[in-house]
Amino acid sequence: MEVSKTCLDGDVRVVNTGCCHDCGGRCVLKAHVKDGRVTRFESDTGDDPQIRACMRGRAYRQRLYSPDRLRYPLRRVGKKGAGKFERVSWDEALNEVAGRLKHVKETYGNASILLMASGGNQGMLHGPLPVGAMLQEFGGFTRTWGIASYEGAMYASMATYGTIRTGNSREDLLNSKMVILWGWNPAVTIQDPGTSLMLARVREKGIKIVAVDPRYTESVATFASQWIPIRPGTDSAVLIAMAYVILSENLQDQAFIDQHTVGIEKYKDYLFGVDDGVQKTPQWAESISTVPAEVIAQLAREYALIKPAALIAGWAPARAAFGEQYSRAANVLTAITGNIGVSGGYASGFMRAYSSREFSHKKAMAPPDREKARPTGNPVEDGALPRKYSLHKLYGGTNPSGARIHNAKIFDAILRGRTGGYPADIKLGYVVASNCLNQNPNTRRGEAALKALDFLVVHEQFMTPTARFADVVLPVNTFMERNDIAPPWLGSPYYIYLNKAVDSLYESKSDLDICRELAPKLGISPMMYNFSEDEILQGIAAGRNDIPDYGAMQRDGVLKIRLDEPVVSFKEQIENPDNTSFPTLSGKIEIHCEHLAEMGDPSVPSIPRYMPHAESHDAPLAKQYPLQLITPHDKKRAHSTWHNVSWCSEVEPHVIAISPVDALDRDIRDEDTVDVFNDRGRVRIRARVTERIMPGVVELTQGAWYDPDEKGVDRGGCANVLTRDEASPGGAHPMNSALVQVEPSPQD
């Protein structure tokens, strides 16, 4: 439904829609449409809280009407990856895709089809959903697990609380007496659009905000009154030392610990060196993290004594080797100080305080089948055993199916297959809503992997680095050209209804319509395709318990759900422990997690531990590559989306940030061109010499498009050329655990 109203331009229709890519936020956009074209945008001018779009959403016309939009189906004519394609008809393109799918199915079996899907271009309907439905009906496919953004945080949340519904809703921060932003820059990442405004109000109310981060970010500068720079990868050491201070000085909430947690004694054995002879003192943590011992002790005392206090553990430090340990250490700290289930506190975990999607700690459920992974309807996963290290005895979180391949390992899996220990030999790749070559670790290995596939089909809007390696590229429309519903990732209480603003440009189609045409060529007719777009959306909405009036949501383009009071996760468990338990195996918050203990593997310790790894700051490799690379989000993009939009990219050039100390050592000046490299690859990029990054650390924001020259040197500044394609046992991607060297570039 499109809504017209009188506006400034007279004959302009205003379509209530929204912005919906992979930042996690979902924002209101009101598209002014004249003669079938979007001419300008407004954002939310309605009731509080307004869901105002950021720069990226505001710049959407440059993406929608970009001259680089893919217009027609394309078929590769040059070598794989050369980016040479010819225009073909939809019929030709889909015949080829169908033929290849059938051939691979018949020759190798369905498990040889790998769906590489992500959230880059996804609402509740469009994106990977219709493709998955099609491939499932076709006999199944191998799918991936391990979300780069948050898998470590998710695993830790499940291990500690048995759920990912944690934390309190944002407005409750006003009830805190202290807020700690740990490795979190919401001013740039957005996630929940109202977060920055709320943090500003928290500060203006006089509530102390402390930020722990290796960078002096926009969030640190705007919200925090204390900045604690910390060496990447050592967050867990500092959190563990804080627990040491609290427990050795008897500042813990013992009543809370006794009533609501299990395993404090095991954690104490670690903290006080009973099990390894090392006391986890602030001095111990200082030697690892560079954070002065007295700062650690002071922060610990403050956090324990000023109640209630909110420790919000961002996901970034968990995007690291053994990133789960950081999240676990943060979660446990919130427990031993009793900051859980109370207004003003915050159960650090996954942050999804409000959501009608997860209900695991709201509804009693039958115990899961503990011998097998959860059934999925995907025949390839039928009967699959739980994956090693998976928390398969718990509900929620990531499906533990052992038939899946971790996203950080898909390139290795393609190259090595079953002989490399993977569940399938992959022959055909199907990419939707994903720029996986750019966004998964170790891009150059990814290049080899995509070249090794028999066939690669990519649904895309632009000729991304991934699409360049395709055999067939199918042009997909944007959310301005179709209807969809979108809740924010972190589950703030609202939905955006994306009303179609304009017809699909050129020959582009929605993912749903592509599959509708492809399915008959595969000889299948998935039930989903019998319904119209609107019927499917109505069905999706009916599955939620908080959309009372679909028509009103569609008309308004947004549904803001009114809560009587802020959401406080685990309030029931804390206030009424006799009748409510945590959905863990013990029914309590697990400081010591029995599920992990049963695995008996030191890489998944039952209590949080600081665990060095092959690319820690003090690893042997650091002699050769002495700088720690971190790859955070960039305000100019959401991952790799908007990379090619000049209204955004003109903010500042893409650079590698390096401290003056490290720059001087290397004879590098601001704006010099430098090479950033390790054994995985080499990036040539402009240096930004800045005090805003701590010495020993360099920052290359992720998402810029891979653009190798003839020698294989990336001129595009793609961070994943340098990141390591390993996965932590719990699934954390080591995006912030790469060692590199930086040196002035050779003269071209």
Binding site: M55, E691, P695
Partner: protein, 190 residues
Amino acid sequence: MSQMGFYFDQTRCTGCHTCRVACKDWHDLQSEGVNWMQIETIEKGTFPHLFLAFMATPCYQCETPACMAACPSEAISKRVSDGIVVVDPDACLGREKCEKTPCLKACRSRVPQFGPEENAKMQKCDFCLERLDQGKQPICVEACPMFALEIDTLTALQKKYGSSQEAAGFRHPVKLKPAVVFTPKPENYS
């Protein structure tokens, strides 16, 4: 005349550039580098004692605009009703024909700008006149996710927010009397 003015709460600004891009979209400023709203980043200090702020610069609609005085063709004028400084593109000679383009040098805040097209005419922020006429705030104000911007009569803004005319990244040019009020970000902010 009631002079219209601009309010900027520098303590709230995260440097997100939403105002700048909302302006470019609303006024269809396709060219890279042409920004009626400019955002400057101010970084000071030595690790770990740092200061970071942003300065949002639309046009502050000076009471005695230097650009107006400098224009050789009287293309820049100040509206009697609200003091908003506007440019008449028909009267503007254009970048090449004007040759010296003195408006560029006159304004320290680089408000007057020219696009890349041949003999481009000067363009600048006009507080979204047509939106003001409709009783709406300018698009930048309505866009700011931090609610850090406001437009009103200068008197009303001063009454609400005080009379700070300087902030990090902006020194008050006394003679020009820019119609602006800041909540400045002090250097000892954190």
